[in-house]
Structures are given as structure tokens and as C-alpha cells.
């Protein structure tokens, strides 16, 4: 009798915790896409639902609300292949409308790649950009094609686009961003 009750409670506990983890980790509610870039619409907002709060706590704690900053994360290139630090990618497109934008490269543990020269992000003040354009290259070695974001090692790769004080179109709809393209420069294993 005791064993049956224990099984009853434990199985409900495991199912409850497991389903919560799955929904938070892999569920897509509140996520909006602009090309291959994904954004949690209500990240940091007081109007966020419990799942969004949990998702943001796991993946981007201390986010600012969408009126102040919008965050987009890309983990695949335009063809849908997972990004890899070993490959070179060209990130191109019109500069987002915002007071400040930046593209930062993170390893798949969501922390910065080691770089002795602290080249962690390309932003609208970076040298080598044409006005109104984004053109940068990520990869383990420099490229002549544009400003370089080093991604040493063999890990996966996440690119995060931050828009501080975004323009009215993105403020009205996060999906209104004209997405930056992410294309592999060469065949990538």
C-alpha cells in the first residue's frame, strides 16, 4: 500500500517537473521570429507570462523590457543549419533602426568567446561599417570581407542582436525587423 502511494506521488512529481522543464526549455510560446532570429516578445516585461519569465531566467536573466531593448538570438544560419564556432559566417543586411545596435557572438554555454583583444561585438560605432549597413564575419580566423568577430574553439555558436531604444516599427512588432542574413562562407562540416 505504501509503495503504491509512493509511486503515485513520485510519478506525479516527476511528470510535473519534467513537463515544466520541457515546456520552458523547448516550448515556443511568446517567441517571435524575424528570419532566423528569435525574440522573446515580453522578455523582462511585467506583463510576461510565467513560462516567458522562466525562459528568460534560464536564457537571458536581467533583460530589459521591450520598450527599452529588444533582443534577438540566432542559433542557425539562413539555411537552417546550427551555427558552429568552427565555421565562417557572413552577417549582412540593413542596419536596424535603433539608437544603438550590436551583434555579439557567444559560445553555446551562452558566455563570450575568449579573445585577448576583447573583440566581442560589432556595433553601430565599430570601424569598417558602411553607413546604414551591417556587414560582419564570424569565425575562428579573420576574413577580408568585413569586420571580424572571433569565435575560437569547437563549440556551437549563438549570435545575439540587441537593439537599444528600437525604432517605432520594432517597438510596435518585434517581427517587423528586417532580418540580418547569416550565410556560411564555405561548406561547413
Amino acid at each position: 500500500m505504501f509503495a503504491a502511494r509512493l509511486w503515485f506521488c513520485l510519478s506525479a512529481l516527476v511528470f510535473g517537473l519534467g513537463s515544466a522543464w520541457c515546456v520552458v526549455r523547448y516550448g515556443g510560446s511568446g517567441t517571435v521570429a524575424a528570419g532566423t532570429w528569435q525574440s522573446q516578445v515580453l522578455a523582462g516585461s511585467v506583463h510576461a507570462d510565467p513560462y516567458t519569465r522562466a525562459r528568460v531566467a534560464l536564457g537571458g536573466l536581467l533583460a530589459l523590457g521591450p520598450e527599452e531593448t529588444v533582443y534577438y538570438v540566432a542559433s542557425t544560419d539562413d539555411s537552417g543549419k546550427p551555427l558552429s564556432a568552427r565555421c565562417h559566417y557572413r552577417v549582412t543586411g540593413p542596419a536596424p533602426v535603433a539608437r544603438w545596435w550590436s551583434v555579439t557572438a557567444y559560445a553555446d554555454d551562452r558566455f563570450l568567446f575568449a579573445d585577448p583583444q576583447h573583440r566581442y561585438s560589432i556595433n553601430n560605432a565599430s570601424p569598417g561599417l558602411l553607413p546604414g549597413q551591417v556587414m560582419l564575419v564570424t569565425g575562428p580566423t579573420p576574413s577580408a570581407a568585413g569586420p571580424w568577430l572571433p569565435t575560437p574553439g569547437n563549440s556551437g555558436l549563438l549570435l545575439v542582436l540587441r537593439l537599444y531604444q528600437p525604432g517605432p516599427a520594432v517597438r510596435a512588432s518585434v517581427a517587423a525587423l528586417t532580418p540580418l542574413r547569416i550565410q556560411a562562407e564555405e561548406a561547413c562540416p
Binding site: 503515485f8 536564457g59 536573466l61 544603438w100 540587441r162
Partner: protein, 192 residues
């Protein structure tokens, strides 16, 4: 009661229990992570006003910054962890910075319940008195005291929380010293 009815009831009870655990886990996760982050970010031996306020001026973000995921390398941060359960906390921020800066408040469930940037503040310093939402009589007294001290009263939705000042550093090599000065303009003090 028939055995079939007992089975249905057991099934319903199991689902109810599982749903309760599911909801509790989703509700608790951000609070647990936030609590852990507040402890990790500002250790007890950091620059301490008293047990109600802890302040930290971390160096510019590098690959070695591993307390919080997805740290922004473009920002200099200064932060306070506060506890309002024993009384209000005064916040002063005067970064005197030519570019973007903001002061953001987070509740213990990770909500960013207030942010003031340089444009909204018209580049003027921020002087806040943080207090808990209280009963009307106590709130009136707190409000009068805040006004008398020349401060804007900010009501926090939770006793424990975190304040994060961000200063945008366009040139981390050339502006590091000025950014450090801007960081140090943040002060959080428990009101006696």
C-alpha cells in the same frame, strides 16, 4: 464506490497533483534563479552599506565574466541588491555620461518593473526612494518623507530585488576610465 469510479478519481487526483507540481516549478524557477544570481553577483563581502543593501562595480565584461548568461560586452554595469522588508532604500545615480545610460529595477521574479534612461531623465541624475507597497497610512508617510528628501518615490512589487545601471561604452579601450567613474556614481543607501 465502484472500482471503475475509484480508478477515475485516482487518475484525476494524479493529474491534479502533476499540474500543481508543473505550475509550482514554472512559478518558482525564475525566483530561484534570481535569488541565486543576486547572491552570486554581489557577494556578502562586496562594498556594503549594510545588510539591506549591497553594491558592486564590476569591471568591464570579458570572457571571464560568467555570473550571468549572455553578458553584454558593450556595457559597464553597476548594481545594488536591496532588501526593503526593514525599510526604504535611497538610490542616487549621476553617471554624467554623454551616451546611453539607464537605471533598471528588477523584482524577485525577474520582472524589469522600472527603467529610466538618459533621454527620459534628460541626462539629469536619478534620486529615488525605493519602498514596498504598504498600507495607505504608512505609504503617505513614506511619500511625504521621500518628497522632503527631494526624491521620487518608487514602489517595489517585492521586498528583495536588484538595481542595474548600464552605461554604454562604445570604445572600451579609450573610455574604460571614464566608464569606471560613471559606474561609481551609483549609490544605494538604506534609510535609517
Amino acid at each position: 464506490m465502484s472500482p471503475a469510479r475509484v480508478r477515475v478519481l485516482r487518475c484525476a487526483l494524479w493529474l491534479l497533483l502533476a499540474a500543481f507540481v508543473h505550475g509550482l516549478a514554472v512559478w518558482a524557477l525564475p525566483r530561484v534563479i534570481m535569488r541565486g544570481a543576486m547572491s552570486r553577483l554581489v557577494p556578502v563581502n562586496a562594498t556594503v552599506a549594510d545588510e539591506r543593501v549591497r553594491v558592486l562595480y564590476p569591471p568591464l565584461t570579458t570572457a571571464a565574466s560568467r555570473q550571468i548568461v549572455l553578458p553584454s560586452p558593450d556595457l559597464a554595469y553597476a548594481l545594488c541588491v536591496y532588501d526593503l522588508s526593514k525599510g526604504p532604500v535611497d538610490v542616487d545615480a549621476a553617471p554624467a555620461w554623454p551616451g546611453y545610460w539607464s537605471v533598471a529595477l528588477y523584482a524577485d521574479n525577474t520582472d524589469n518593473y522600472l527603467v529610466r534612461n538618459d533621454v527620459a531623465a534628460r541626462s539629469r541624475p536619478v534620486h529615488w526612494r525605493l519602498a514596498l507597497s504598504e498600507e495607505a497610512a504608512a505609504l503617505t508617510a513614506t511619500s511625504i518623507a521621500a518628497m522632503a528628501a527631494g526624491r521620487e518615490l518608487v514602489l517595489a512589487p517585492s521586498a528583495r530585488g536588484l538595481l542595474l545601471m548600464r552605461v554604454l561604452v562604445a570604445d572600451r579601450h579609450g573610455e574604460a576610465a571614464a566608464a569606471a567613474q560613471a559606474q561609481r556614481s551609483l549609490h544605494c543607501v538604506a534609510v535609517p
